[in-house]
Amino acid sequence: MAQEARVPCGVGEGMSTPILEGKGLKKGYPIKTPMGRLKGIVKAVDGVSFSLSESEILGVVGESGCGKSTLARLILRLERPDGGCILFKGRDITMCKEREMREFRRRVQIVFQDPFSSLNPRMKVGTMLMEPLLVHRLVPSKRVARDRVASLLERVGLSTQDMERYPHQFSGGERQRIGIARALVLDPQVVVADEPTSSLDVFVQAQVVNLMLGLMEERRLSYVFISHNLSLVGQIAHRIMVLYLGRVMEAGPAHQLMEEPLHPYTQVLLDSIPAPDPKEAHLHRLPPLGDVPSPINPPPGCPFHPRCPQAQEVCRREAPSLCSLGDREVACHLV
């Protein structure tokens, strides 16, 4: 497992070939009245594009309800997008049937937020982790599967005996490690982590993040790291994409975006990070006004304008398109 040479993190030579790409992804959910009449459509993801290179961490940030989890499901092809396409190593898998995606299913995996509902309560951990190996016929025998799972469990900080235990016998952090082990058992190249640390306490969060970073170097993984925690994503991601009501507000290299946010929404998010020293807190910027508007009736124009401290007349009329500024992209009339 650790035989590969250490790949340097960050902007390396492999960054030019994207392993996973999304182009103009759209997904809407119909809202029906109890009588079955269509009341409206929630545009959970509305024209999101991204690309992920080898050994890269793409951070996806946004408040709850901004379409982060839907995006994760679209990337994993657990749901078909209404529009746009997903390319895995340049191959369009958007409309593939399940049996045409065996390679994709092996190579792209997911870690969920809730470590309690993400493990089958009636299955022993060992059985759960061995099942995919046996189904994909990646091992010659059950014994080999057993050994592989045992060493994987040890790598994520659990023991071989844990194979015989059921999920409810573990703590939240341990379950999240099992979730990570399950995502890694088929030896993937991309792992989508949907808020993997949000339901853990701070100390365990750090352990899980460090584990994920270590595994990334050992196994040449790429992560799509979804979170509402901009400060955490800012520390680990190479690129960051900020979502708001299903649309990309701003995207760019992490250090640039953290140091000099262009979009008012990113600025607001950055300001909402509690500063370790209260004297250094940015008190000069306005807080966001009110709550996230309903995604059923998104506001006309820029989706952020009702809460934007710098909103102008043009923001209420026209939705800004995503414009490139060198490495960065931003959707705002004011930039």
Partner: protein, 278 residues
């Protein structure tokens, strides 16, 4: 599982139900050894004898020992109850599981079938089927089974609908496991708790149905003893031989009550809202 047993054992009524059922099961299993007489042996010299030391529950109109017939009848009742409910569970779980998991038109078709089946007055449907087929114990079990799976199908479908959106199922799909495997290994094992409750309650209902059929003379055929058929004979002699009606009636009551109490106990033990602590 420990909290389940603990919750069940703390419920006195459920425990009483379980004790009654264990007793009835032992009686049914040991029937050939504990019944004092051959249940089918006719004795013209001992017709309609009241309970006594030689015949603890009396004799019937043909001089057969009532206790022996009751003991053998326990076998029939439990057999019919358990096997017919077993058939109902298998059919209901498969129909509900497939409907909930695949959704769309499969779901609509299967659930309309359930609605149609529920529209029939079950008892008259059974009467009609038995009238056409031969009234044998196997036919009765099958007919009771295939007319009582609809409730279980609805329960399982509802469970599957919530389970299929759970993250461990999504993870299984992301791992490329087949739909059949996900349904059988990941979804259905988690949907079976309400089925267990419905099945336990269903056994009581099935015993009652069998007794009613036998009472009407189209159930288990003589000379095979069944509580319902003993009761049917008893009604002709109710003024001179009360024991012929009382004891089978009591047996049906106790068995059905036992299953209902146990079923409700399991339901409470499974329901996390009623769980005090793990």
């Amino acid at each position: 599982m420990r909290w389940f047993w603990k919750g069940l054992l703390e419920n006195r009524l459920a425990l009483a139900g379980a004790v009654v059922l264990v007793f009835l099961c032992i009686v049914a299993i040991l029937a050939p050894w504990i019944s004092p007489y051959d249940p089918a042996r006719i004795n013209p010299h001992a017709v309609l004898l009241p309970p006594s030391w030689s015949h603890p529950l009396g004799t019937d109109n043909l001089g057969r020992d009532l206790l022996s017939r009751m003991i053998w009848g326990t076998r029939i009742s439990l057999e019919v109850g358990v096997i017919s409910v077993g058939i109902a569970c298998v059919v209901g779980t498969l129909v509900g599981g497939v409907a909930g998991f695949y959704g769309g038109w499969v779901d609509s078709m299967l659930m309309r079938l359930v609605d149609v089946m529920l529209c029939f007055p079950t008892f008259f449907l059974i009467l009609a089927v038995i009238a056409v087929l031969e009234p044998s114990i196997w036919n009765i079990m099958v007919v009771i089974g295939i007319t009582s799976w609809m409730g279980i199908a609805r329960l399982v479908r509802a469970e599957v609908l919530t389970l299929r959106e759970r993250e461990f199922v999504l993870a299984a799909r992301a791992l490329g496991l087949s739909k059949g495997r996900i349904l059988l290994r990941h979804i259905l094992p988690n949907a079976l708790a309400p089925v267990l409750v419905a099945a336990t309650l269903g056994v009581g209902a099935a015993i009652l149905t069998e007794s009613a059929l036998s009472f009407l003379g189209i159930g288990v055929q003589p000379p095979t003893p069944s509580w319902g058929s003993i009761l049917a004979v008893g009604k002709d002699y109710i003024e001179v031989a009360w024991w012929l009606s009382l004891f089978p009636g009591l047996a049906i009551l106790v068995a059905v009550l036992g299953y209902n109490l146990l079923g409700e106990g399991i339901r409470d033990a499974v329901d996390p809202r009623l769980r005090r602590s793990r």
